[in-house]
């Protein structure tokens, strides 16, 4: 279906996907004797929504942690924007324009939504402690600039009404959205979403899907996501990597993956003839 070239391809709904922006080459990750990821290679292209799926314990989150630089694989290479990425600290990865959300929400519960989202801009705030304390000159200017970016995100995700609400008081679905807001505030070029829809009801899932598509469409952000909900994954993503027991058992468009016998056997379990 997709006419894939090194320069990119066009999706069925008419979006132009660019060339490879990130590439995993023969990644193997071990924790002591446990092999979490075994010799996996795949790529992520500019502007696409790339999903990683698999049953529990397949190594999806580990894979995401490799991408985000939280884990350093024992073997294999991560190539980013045409360069091999050396082992890095997570903040260095963030500086390269990669932002993420977490499976278990990791927000500052006592802080307001606005403050939480502002932390996504910390990278951009360089004023010193003293300048911050008296809030003059550079500190003030930086705050205004960064707040403008944050407000755009708040508007985009439609969370104006909870701007000043402490995160701890919010329902789960909204917390997830705030987390997405914080990641977006960093204006990432690659956004990593770890089970963005876990534990949500149907309506919240629909909202979240819409936001993910809009982020991709509006800002051209490349998105890599892990998700359990097959329906959501198949509807959202351009290409899907399927993992099982740390191995890659499928890779392709949702349709290709859906018809892949290995995937059906390992993951879906039932044949849908």
């Amino acid at each position: 279906m997709n006419d894939m070239t090194p320069e990119g391809y066009t999706t069925a709904d008419g979006r132009n996907i660019g060339g490879v922006v990130m590439e995993m080459k023969n990644i193997t990750l071990r924790f002591g004797g446990v092999v979490a990821i075994k010799d996996i290679s795949f790529d992520i292209r500019q502007g696409e929504i790339r999903a990683i799926i698999g049953p529990n314990g397949a190594g999806k989150s580990s894979m995401l942690n490799v991408i985000s630089g939280f884990y350093n694989p024992q073997e294999g290479e991560v190539w980013y924007k045409g360069e091999r990425r050396p082992p890095m600290k997570p903040y260095q990865v963030a500086q390269q324009g990669i932002a993420r959300t977490f499976q278990n929400i990791a927000l500052f519960e006592g802080m307001t939504v606005l403050d939480n989202v502002m932390t996504g801009r910390l990278r951009e705030m360089k004023a010193g402690l003293f300048s911050q304390a008296i809030w003059k000159g550079r500190a003030e200017r930086e705050e205004v600039e960064n707040r403008a970016v944050v407000e755009k995100v708040i508007d985009f995700l439609e969370i104006q009404h909870i701007r000043k609400t402490p995160v701890g008081r919010l329902p789960y679905g909204l917390k997830k959205r705030v987390e997405l807001a914080r990641a977006l505030a960093a204006e990432p070029s690659i956004l990593l979403l770890d089970e963005p829809m876990a534990g949500m009801n149907v309506e919240e899932k629909e909202d979240m899907s819409r936001f993910i598509l809009d982020v991709n469409d509006e800002f051209g952000t490349t998105i890599a996501l892990i998700e359990h909900d097959m329906g959501v994954v198949m509807d959202l993503s351009d290409r899907v990597v399927v993992m099982d027991y740390g191995k890659k058992i499928g890779d392709g468009t949702p349709d290709e993956v859906r018809n892949n016998q290995d995937v059906i056997d390992a993951y879906l379990g039932v044949s849908n003839d």
Binding site: E151, D155, Q160, H161, L213, D217
Partner: protein, 657 residues
């Protein structure tokens, strides 16, 4: 304000008023909208430029004089500009309810034959695309928010700002044309067409001329001494005549500033930030606010609660009298001042009503207790009685003569006549021109002398000459024994209780009255939370026996108070049930302005009404519901029916004394 030859000084169209304001009040704020967390502001001269750019863009797009342009969106400056821009090019703006389902929209769009639609976002564009097949006249859509629309086919779809850019680019070319079209506008040209939601039947397109709107705005502004300094918050549906009068008619006549909230959910915060001086809300908004205050006071510390209770009791005693400028003892005044410092002032500020000089409630009767609560705080809340066909104003309450049970004196320029059957008729400069493409209805409603039937039954109070509305004329009926049946009166008494959101009373041609109740999920939910009662849905909470007990208590209290009213003592509610779903406009049970459609409710819940009268204690029922996106489903429930104690009617002799 200058008032030469014509009372309006040659200002005989909204675009003409815009020109005047841009010259006279050029640097004064005309519009504010909170966006990206900041109040963005446009002065009158900036607004005029924006509107001109859009008008030129519309000409560029091929809008002809007499075309209809649908405007669908929430209150944003862009949509107010759209309406005035449409008028400027000689077209007729038709604002529609943005929460209407696609089919509802299709009916109206088809009826007026709109060639253009200016809409808010992808949601509205999708709705129109869905029904586009049947809309042969619809040619172009203009959207404000581009989000998600990038990939759509843009042959007939345009971004608002692009239309403006094209207009600016083609200024030289089309400016003369625009000026010419604008000069042609006069008092008789159509200002706007508004669809009435209608408690029965299909919506009707009410055509209002510049005369209607400007005269109504002028006289009502004079009545309340509105000036250029007013601030209003525009948050009521743009398709509703009230919003058109307040946010366009009066705003342009007085040159005051219209503030648009950031989103529907932030309305309360935005209200506080703006602190409007002129405020308008349907009773429901006041009810909700009061409910929220009461819920929060339940959770307040003892000291605070004591302070609140003490001073509110005092306010109830002397507050309205102080507001009306009546004689109140010095000690009571001092105590009220103290209360203002500790309770009323901060409370008004929290509610966002601290600066309100004139506040109105209309649309439905407001519970006297709710009304008095606000007035006792020192908020000059008044009632008005009006309808779309009258460009809102039929009667208004003058300052100092405000009562909760009347709707005031005829508005300036309005004549009122009460027919023999009690129906209220009026005639005024604001009286609508005609119903679009519906001469029969026009003839039914408006006679050759210009008298319009309101469909409401009422009478003038003998003591003060104020009009008192009893009920919808067609809802007022007779009980089986021939005595008067006025459901609305009883329903309003029930709805005063924060726990009761909506009530529908039956009894026409029957031996006794019965009622459907909708509980208020906020109030009852809060109560449930405090008492550790778990519930998963409205339906489950509504079926809780303890909730039924509480509601029964309310119903019986209402019965006791009805027993004291010699006219309506027989309208006591004998049996009631709590509905398993909230009455909803999406299901057609209410209008978009949230008035109960009695006939439809009667039809739809026929089985429940039968059960109310056949003495059964339980009834199983299934009801079809429509979700927000138009899909249908059904819910089923077994409802408990309760008997409510009926109070003894005091001896008529006693009552007569």
């Amino acid at each position: 304000m200058a008032q030469p030859s014509q009372a309006t000084g040659g200002m005989d169209s909204i675009p003409a008023l815009l020109q005047r304001n841009a010259t006279q009040y050029g640097d004064k704020p005309a519009y504010r909208e909170k966006e990206y967390g900041i109040w963005q502001c446009w002065t009158w001269s900036e607004a005029e430029k924006e509107i001109e750019a859009l008008a030129l863009g519309l000409i560029n797009l091929g809008v002809n004089e007499g075309d209809f342009i649908a405007v669908i969106g929430r209150n944003r400056p862009y949509f107010y500009w759209s309406m005035v821009a449409a008028q400027s090019v000689g077209a007729v703006p038709v604002p529609l309810y943005q929460d209407a389902a696609a089919e509802e929209m299709a009916y109206v769009m088809d009826h007026c034959g709109a060639r253009f639609a200016i809409v808010q976002d992808q949601e509205q564009v999708d709705k129109l695309i869905e029904v586009q097949e049947g809309l042969h006249q619809l040619e172009h859509m203009i959207y404000v928010d581009p989000r998600g629309l990038r990939k759509y086919d843009h042959h007939k779809l345009h971004q608002f700002s692009h239309i403006q850019d094209q207009g600016r680019a083609a200024r030289e070319e089309f400016l003369d044309d625009l000026k010419e079209r604008r000069a042609k506008l006069n008092y008789d040209s159509i200002c706007v067409m508004l669809y009435t939601s209608g408690t029965t039947g299909k919506p009707k397109g009410v055509v209002l001329s510049n005369r209607n709107i400007i005269e109504a705005s002028r006289s009502s502004s004079d009545f309340d001494h509105l000036g250029a300094g007013e601030e209003v918050l525009a948050y009521l549906p743009m398709a509703w005549v009230g919003d058109f009068i307040f946010s366009i008619g009066q705003a342009y006549w007085c040159a005051f500033c219209v503030n648009c909230p950031e989103s529907a959910e932030t309305m309360q915060t935005d209200l506080r930030e703006i602190g409007p001086t002129y405020y308008f809300a349907p009773p429901r908004v006041f009810e909700t606010q009061l409910t929220n205050v009461m819920i929060r006071m339940e959770d307040a510390s003892r000291m605070k609660k004591w302070l609140f209770d003490t001073f509110m009791a005092h306010a109830r005693k002397v507050g309205p009298a102080i507001l009306d400028g009546k004689a109140v003892s010095a000690w009571d005044r001092i105590k009220y001042k103290l209360g203002n410092l500790f309770v009323y002032g901060p409370l008004k500020d929290t509610l966002g009503l601290g600066r309100v000089r004139v506040g109105y409630t209309a649309g439905e009767a407001i519970g006297p207790e709710i009304f008095d609560f606000y007035r006792s705080l020192g908020i000059n809340l008044k009632q008005l009685y009006g309808q779309t066909e009258a460009s809102v104003f039929i009667t208004l309450q003058p300052d100092g003569e405000v009562r909760s049970d009347t709707v005031g004196v005829p508005a300036p320029g309005v004549e009122i006549r009460i027919a023999e059957n009690g129906e209220v008729f009026y005639r005024s400069p604001g009286t609508f021109e005609y119903y679009y493409k519906n001469p029969e209805s026009t003839a039914d409603t408006k006679d050759s002398e210009g008298w319009v039937a309101t469909g409401d039954a009422g009478f003038f109070d003998k003591d003060n000459g104020h009009l008192r509305i009893i009920d919808r004329a067609k809802d007022v009926g007779k009980m089986a024994d021939g005595r008067l049946f006025a459901p609305k009166y009883v329903e309003n008494k029930l709805k005063f209780y924060p726990n009761i959101l909506e009530a529908v009373v039956f009894g026409n041609e029957r031996e006794a009255c019965t009622a459907f109740i909708n509980i208020d999920l906020t109030a009852v939910g809060n109560w449930a939370e405090r008492n550790n009662i778990g519930y998963a849905s409205y339906q489950e909470l509504a079926g809780n026996p303890m909730v039924l007990d509480t509601i029964q208590g309310h119903v019986e209290e209402v019965n006791r108070s009805l027993a004291d009213d010699p006219m309506l003592s027989h309208c006591q509610v004998n049996r009631f049930l709590i509905l398993h779903k909230e009455l909803d406009a999406d299901d057609g049970e209410m209008t978009r302005t949230r008035k109960v459609r009695r006939r439809i409710v009667e039809e739809k819940f026929k089985d429940l009404i039968t059960a109310l009268y056949d003495g059964s204690n339980e009834i199983y029922t299934e009801t079809e519901v429509t979700y927000e996106d138009g899909r249908k489903g059904s819910i089923s429930a077994t409802l408990t029916i309760r008997d409510a104690a009926v109070a003894d009617v005091p001896d008529m002799k006693v009552a007569a004394e």
